[in-house]
Amino acid sequence: MSAVSAGPLEKGSTSTVEAPVREQETRGEEELDVPWQVVVHNDPVNLMTYVTMVFQRVFGYPREKAERHMLEVHHKGRSILWSGVRERAEFYVQQLHGHLLLATLEKIN
């Protein structure tokens, strides 16, 4: 939400009101609008079947889609599992870390 304020009245002035000045939005508000992505990185210790199960559980993906992402992680080193608002992305990353997967939250450029 942006804030609006009127400019100060000079001493002795009458009823002149300056045009409202729009203040800059705060950094936090800007960041809320930036889309984020949830990235899972390869870890040779985690079993492929385990990673697939975690993707199904955390994101509710069907098995085929979960396997596709798992194979992308395995072959390419990383896969973007989800993108959207920061709060939801943080929730997913927390769930993935809870299952000991290497996951990060990245801003989409």
Partner: protein, 161 residues
């Protein structure tokens, strides 16, 4: 060793003393305390953004520690079946309630990650499932990772029907 599901219980039977001891070692192996590299892996940074990492350390990491500790305690409780057995040197059976499956999956993964970090195994070593015999602590570590992975595969198969 035989492994099967009997209704609501996973059973690992005909456990020889060596494998029973490896099972007993799971909670201890999962403990990353005092091992900075293992700590860094289990509690990895969630972002390149410093602000997110700082919040994570304050609010999320304690939750993760609680989650991992709780899973490890559940496994340790199940493993108590193997303690105090006067037939310690004979084969025995471990019963794991199916509702503990998630705790076992989690703790086995903790243990595998901590051991892998401790010995800094390469991808090649981790993919060498037929390596033998066990001639050092490092070899034993790799054997543990593979054995715990085998248990994870079994549990996953049973809970996914």
């Amino acid at each position: 060793m035989e492994i099967c599901r009997d209704e609501d219980t996973l059973q690992i039977s005909d456990l020889d003393p060596f494998l029973a001891e490896l099972l007993r070692q799971i909670p201890l192996s999962a403990n990353s305390a005092g091992a900075p590299a293992a700590e860094a892996r289990l509690f990895a940074q969630p972002s390149a953004e410093k602000e997110i990492c700082a919040e994570w350390k304050s609010y999320v990491e304690p939750e993760l520690r609680r989650l991992f500790r709780s899973a490890s305690e559940t496994v340790a409780d199940d493993l108590a079946q193997l303690n105090g057995n006067e037939k310690a040197l004979s084969n025995c059976t471990l019963h794991i309630p199916i509702e503990h499956a998630d705790a076992w999956l989690n703790t086995l993964n903790q243990a595998r990650l901590v051991i892998a970090t401790k010995y800094n195994f390469s991808d090649e070593e981790l993919n060498d499932h037929d390596r033998s015999p066990i001639g050092s602590r490092r070899d034993l570590g790799l054997f543990q990772i593979n054995f715990y992975g085998f248990l994870q595969e079994f549990i996953l198969r049973e809970i996914s029907g």
